[in-house]
């Protein structure tokens, strides 16, 4: 049970990193971000979609992402998010932190790197 708790907490801590990584590729709206996380992780990071919004809005408040409502023809307006300059810098630093973390875990826990 404790192992499960560890992984759950790490997954929770990842949500910011995942959002920043996806927005680093292109601008996306909330549903798109959640679907992409589901699809690319083969369901490993199955988000409760609602949890995405506190993360997105916190990042927006911190100036790391900016959101803009776009009304496209007959489709309903959607709020698209993109990384700001500050967000790009933060994402690079964050990626580097995760790289160090993964390397350290791989070095310490046999079988993780395979």
């Amino acid at each position: 049970l404790e192992i499960e708790m560890d992984v759950t907490n790490i997954k929770k801590a990842c949500s910011e990193t995942l959002v920043l990584a996806l927005l680093g590729e292109r601008e996306m709206h909330g549903y798109e971000i959640a679907s992409e996380i589901d699809r690319r992780s083969n369901g490993y990071f199955t988000l409760k979609h609602g949890t995405l919004y506190p993360t997105l809005h916190r990042l927006e408040e911190q100036g790391l992402v900016s959101g803009e409502w776009v009304a496209g023809g007959q489709e309903r307006p959607r709020k698209y998010y993109r990384l700001t300059k500050k967000g790009h810098d933060y994402r690079n630093a964050n990626t580097s932190e995760w790289r160090d973390f993964v390397v350290a875990i791989a070095a310490l826990v046999p079988g993780v790197a395979t």
Binding site: H29, G30, Y31, A34, S35, K48, H49, G50, T51, Y53, P54, H57, R58, E61, R76, P77, R78, K79
Partner: protein
């Protein structure tokens, strides 16, 4: 539950100030509709698609709480960082600012203001108390709605009944005071003139009008008090109801 009802429920559950709340609800409801469309395309029926869309969003207490926290106004956040007694004191001072400002002006213009109050006679006592109560209530309401930005339905309604009662009460008391003043002055003038064998013409023509208006205003004030007491009781009971 259909999607519209769910969105209404979501809007009520959030403690985020407007217009941010409206934008947030629009964004999340758009997301739910995308999920609903996705599940419909996957072959689910209407009800099952709605149920699954809502379950996938999983806007539970924890998520709603996190959204409230992210969107909390600056003042509310600052107050929550202070120790409780300090934040209560700061809030009370801030809400009393209108009353403090008015009292400062009264004291600053002491001579003229005091003579103004004394000149008004005994009726200035209830009027001043009502004025002070209005200033304190209005100050608290303005702080809560515009600065603390508590836009919950209950908070938006709070204090309106008292303000209405105090406003109408002050108006009726003011007019009543005016007419009682006239009554007293005209009666005194009439008594003096009668001693000299004459009559006071203004008093003769206005006696009935002034008397009936005084009685009417007294009845209206009593009715106002009764309405206030009953409405306040009804609101208290309404707020106690579970559903």
């Amino acid at each position: 539950m259909n999607l519209r009802d769910y969105v209404k429920y979501l809007e009520r559950s959030l403690d985020v100030p407007y217009p941010e709340r409206a934008e947030l609800v629009a964004e999340i409801s758009g997301h739910i509709q995308e999920l609903y469309g996705q599940f419909k395309n996957e072959g689910l029926g209407d009800d099952a698609a709605i149920e699954r869309a809502i379950a996938t969003m999983a806007l539970d207490e924890e998520v709603i709480g996190a959204l409230d926290e992210v969107h909390a106004p600056v003042v509310r956040r600052a107050l929550s960082r202070l120790p409780l007694p300090v934040s209560v004191a700061v809030e009370q001072i801030a809400t009393s600012v209108l009353a403090i400002l008015t009292l400062t002006i009264v004291l600053w213009k002491e001579k003229t203001m005091l003579s103004f109050f004394v000149g008004g006679g005994i009726w200035m006592i209830p009027l001043s108390l009502m004025g002070l109560a209005i200033l304190l209530t209005a100050g608290e309401r303005l702080f809560s709605v515009f600065i603390k930005k508590d836009h919950s339905e209950r908070n938006l309604r709070r204090g309106l009944l008292s303000l209405r009662f105090l406003g109408y009460g002050a108006m009726l008391t003011g007019i009543l005071g005016t007419l009682l003043g006239y009554f007293e002055a005209f009666s005194a003038a009439d008594t003096i003139i009668q001693k000299t064998g004459g009559t006071f013409p203004i008093w003769v023509v206005s006696k009935y009008a002034i008397t009936t208006t005084i009685v009417g205003l007294t009845v209206a004030l009593l009715a106002l008090v009764a309405v206030y007491v009953l409405r306040a009781a009804a609101e208290r009971i309404h707020n106690m109801r579970v559903s």
